[in-house]
Symmetry: C2
Subunit: 515 residues, 2 copies
């Protein structure tokens, strides 16, 4: 690697911090890399929060068009540095070049999509006209606007070092909303975080945005995360990661003297419901789609399809045979970190006695690799052991076989909250399952037909979230342009002079919907 890293934090628009803290590992070789990165302490958090809060007052005054231009500038600066960012992210995540290039494109693309929506917002802004003649009391004039929440803390995810990290969806949506951002970089890819932060810093300069609006804090210690979400100037949190850590931080946010919103996207098993007609006709294609999807990023997508729900009947044996053939051909591979790999192997080992192995991938050639696994269990058994419905992060899926329609209904009702579910069916058979599919929809943030859940489209109508424990707040999405609504709140302007109103709420605004 030829890129020079400073290994510091970025706040108050300066690189600063004590040097020589933690190191990180090359996931491909499982060997420690030479650079060291500063470990942020409570003083750094405080300094970053003060700078971000100061910058907030200036940033929230910027127009939608100015914020849009800023997001576009970040996208361009990221693309300009692709030559540095891509190899660094590959090195730190162990992910292949095509995947990281695609992820950089996605990251730039989502920044630009937020800019597009800022330039052409489609939500009506509600206004009630005054009625001074109304009895017994006159009706006041009301206009409903929104305000950004303030400083947002963002926790980068390990599995998407660009799209769900330093300059990823949480940062983009918070900046689009008019909030300033402090990123707690993921300790597995601090070099990538530093390079992305440099690009953002240049965009701040170019657009003459308030210095301090973006900060990066590097660190590994849990105390840093707690200090950040508990800082009084931090007003909301975006998080992508594990249920365990997400829940700890969510509880901390809820119990602050001033509770704040915590948006944790935590993952799930993403059930694949296969209807009998489809199974009988398309078992081979279904098996191939399933294994391709579960092997994306070596199973380390939060939408990885980890639970396949089937019924006894024609095609089932052939489907399982096809799954086995596909899985057997898969290679073992390193995971995003040694810790994730150890957790995967441990979870699989703990569950194996409860399940029947269908197939395993090729054997691992090193301890930091994980071996793909497909297993089977009856619906009756899994409902007695709800822990088996929890996510195992990695290249694993469990086929559940239902003996009857009643058992299928019971199983769907027993599912915990999910990011997604897929229905695989023939058009002519779905109506018979409409009630069941409706029930399933109440368990998920996104439901799809004859498509796989991996590859979350960044779009206006996306929802990436879902009932707990898939996310900590089912009322929100972490992907797509609606994600910016997480970081604003309503305010009513009553009888306000035009000069005191935001421009979008003035009487000549085309967004006003009057009643």
């Amino acid at each position: 690697m030829t890129t020079n890293l400073c290994g510091l934090h970025f706040f108050g628009h300066q690189w600063q911090g004590k040097e020589a803290g933690f190191a990180r590992v090359n996931p491909q070789t499982n060997e420690q890399l030479p650079e060291r990165f500063a470990e942020a302490d409570a003083d750094d958090v405080d300094a970053a929060a003060r700078a971000a809060s100061e910058a907030f007052w200036a940033y929230q005054q910027k127009s939608d068009a100015e914020r849009a231009a800023f997001l576009d500038a970040i996208a361009s600066e990221l693309e300009k540095d692709a030559g540095q960012i891509v190899p660094m992210a590959m090195l730190e995540s162990g992910l292949p070049e095509a995947r990281i290039r695609g992820e950089l494109g996605r990251t730039a693309g989502q920044l630009r999509l937020f800019a597009t929506v800022l330039n052409a917002p489609y939500d009506p802004l509600l206004m009630d006209d005054a009625n001074p003649e109304r009895t017994p009391l006159p009706k006041p004039e009301l206009r409903l606007g929104q305000l950004p929440l303030g400083v947002v803390a963002v926790f980068g995810a390990s599995n998407f070092p660009l799209a769900f990290s330093t300059g990823g969806g949480d940062t983009a949506s918070a900046l689009a909303a008019g909030c300033t951002v402090i990123v707690k970089g993921h300790p597995a890819h601090p070099g990538t975080s530093e390079l992305v932060s440099r690009a953002i810093a240049r965009a701040i300069d170019q657009c003459a945005m308030p210095k301090g609006l973006f900060s990066l804090l590097q660190g590994k210690a849990p105390a840093l995360s707690v200090a950040l979400v508990e800082h009084p100037l931090v007003k909301a949190v975006g998080f992508t990661g594990s249920l365990k850590v997400g829940r700890i931080l969510a509880d901390r946010c809820a119990l602050r003297p001033e509770p704040i919103p915590f948006y944790g996207e935590l993952g799930s098993v993403n059930p694949q419901l296969i209807l009998p007609g489809k199974l009988a006709r398309d078992f081979g294609e279904l098996a191939s789609l399933q294994v391709n999807s579960m092997m994306m990023g070596h199973g380390q997508f939060c939408t990885s399809p980890g639970l396949i729900i089937t019924q006894k009947g024609p095609g089932l044996d052939a489907y399982i045979a096809a799954l086995a053939e596909n899985v057997s051909a898969q290679r073992a591979a390193p995971m995003l970190s040694g810790g994730i790999c150890a957790a995967f192997n441990h979870a699989v080992e703990a569950m194996l006695p409860e399940m029947e192995i269908i197939a395993q991938g090729q054997a691992a050639s090193a301890a930091h690799q994980s071996r793909p696994l497909l297993a089977k269990i009856s619906a009756a058994n899994i409902m007695q052991k709800p822990a088996l419905l929890e996510e195992i992060f990695g290249p694993f899926a469990l086929v559940v076989v239902c003996d009857s329609q009643e058992e299928l209904v019971e199983l769907i009702n027993a599912l915990p909250g999910q990011l997604t579910a897929s229905i695989h069916g023939l058009l002519e058979e779905v109506e018979a399952y409409a009630a069941l599919i409706s029930r399933l929809s109440f368990k998920v943030g996104r439901i799809m037909f004859n498509q796989m859940p991996t590859g979350v489209e960044v779009a206006r109508a996306m929802n990436h979230g879902g009932p707990y424990p898939a996310s900590t707040d089912s009322r929100s999405t972490s992907v797509g342009t609606e994600a910016m609504k997480r970081f604003v709140r309503p305010i009513c302007y009553q009888n306000m002079p035009e000069v005191l109103l935001p421009s979008a709420l003035r009487s000549d605004s085309s967004r006003l919907k009057r009643f």
Copy 2:
């Protein structure tokens, strides 16, 4: 009182429960009333939650038009029973007939307004069209819909026995959203809750709505409230009441195995910022508006203006003299309950050493009455004692005098979250205060110009909430039609056959906004 009360709970569409629990007091006389009401226990909560959850699956399938007709039916049934409900609410709250009649009208009106919005929704529904030709990956078709959360627990407020209680805004908005409701009736007005529940029960029958969709649990014990918000089948909570109780329940909701949204509307001091030009010109009118507003419901409105922010200058002495004259003419009166009265007297007594009394109302003739009070303090003093910025629920207001513009800015920045703030100014002077007013807007849920905060309009563009501690969730309103959004969450339908889509999301729907 001639109305026969059964004193029981209502759940599973039946009146049930063990009799002879708690009694309530006539606030006017401070004497106990004869009837006794059942005290719900954990078994009652469980039975109500099961019934409400069962009913939810049927109710969520009803169309918007069916839900609208149901809300209209509740409104009509409430009006039909005005002859019973009005005297009962007067008896139990001590509020005068005109006020209670107005409140019944408001309660029916808001049910009908939700029905209007269900019949003519104005939010666009987002849809991304598929693009199978896109490279490297085809774009899937996405439609963003919403689902009701499930069973909602509603806590009635003491100060609005109709509009913020059993059939009030929280119940109306949850029913409009497609949720079923369990009301924990306020123990100060159980008779009113029973009568309102009877009207709702008749509307359920008339509209052939699922039995069990509405429950009333009577009770006084804190354990009942905790059991209700912790029940696994309860998926959201609407609450209007004190910061102390609201915070306890909010924390319980956050720490459940499955955390759920808690919408607590808790109250505030509602600052009145008086600009110098307005003060000099309109001091007399300002004083009269202030005292009228703070005396509404004997100061027991959550929007009661309890903090008046002024600057030294022309008109201040005359304003204070006019306030004094107005306040001196006010009568002492009973409060909503003996407990509220004792809390008011205690809080005033504790604060008095810190303040200078401007005027008191007429002396109380009984211990359960409270005497209006207006006091004064310097900005420098109050900023050293932030406890003085907390709400005193009752007929009290504090005039804060700033020595300088700098002190004014400091004071605004020191304010905790508020439901509302008012700016009283001349049009020609507001621009000079635009930056300060902008800062103030970040502290409040509603900001208004030359109007008083009491009398929260039920409308589309209303926001009744605000930053903590005014509410527990500044992202939501408890008044106005946007309140129903508290009880739904998004879901994305990807590539779904039309037959599996809600009608509003089908391709022929006029609400779709396609991209």
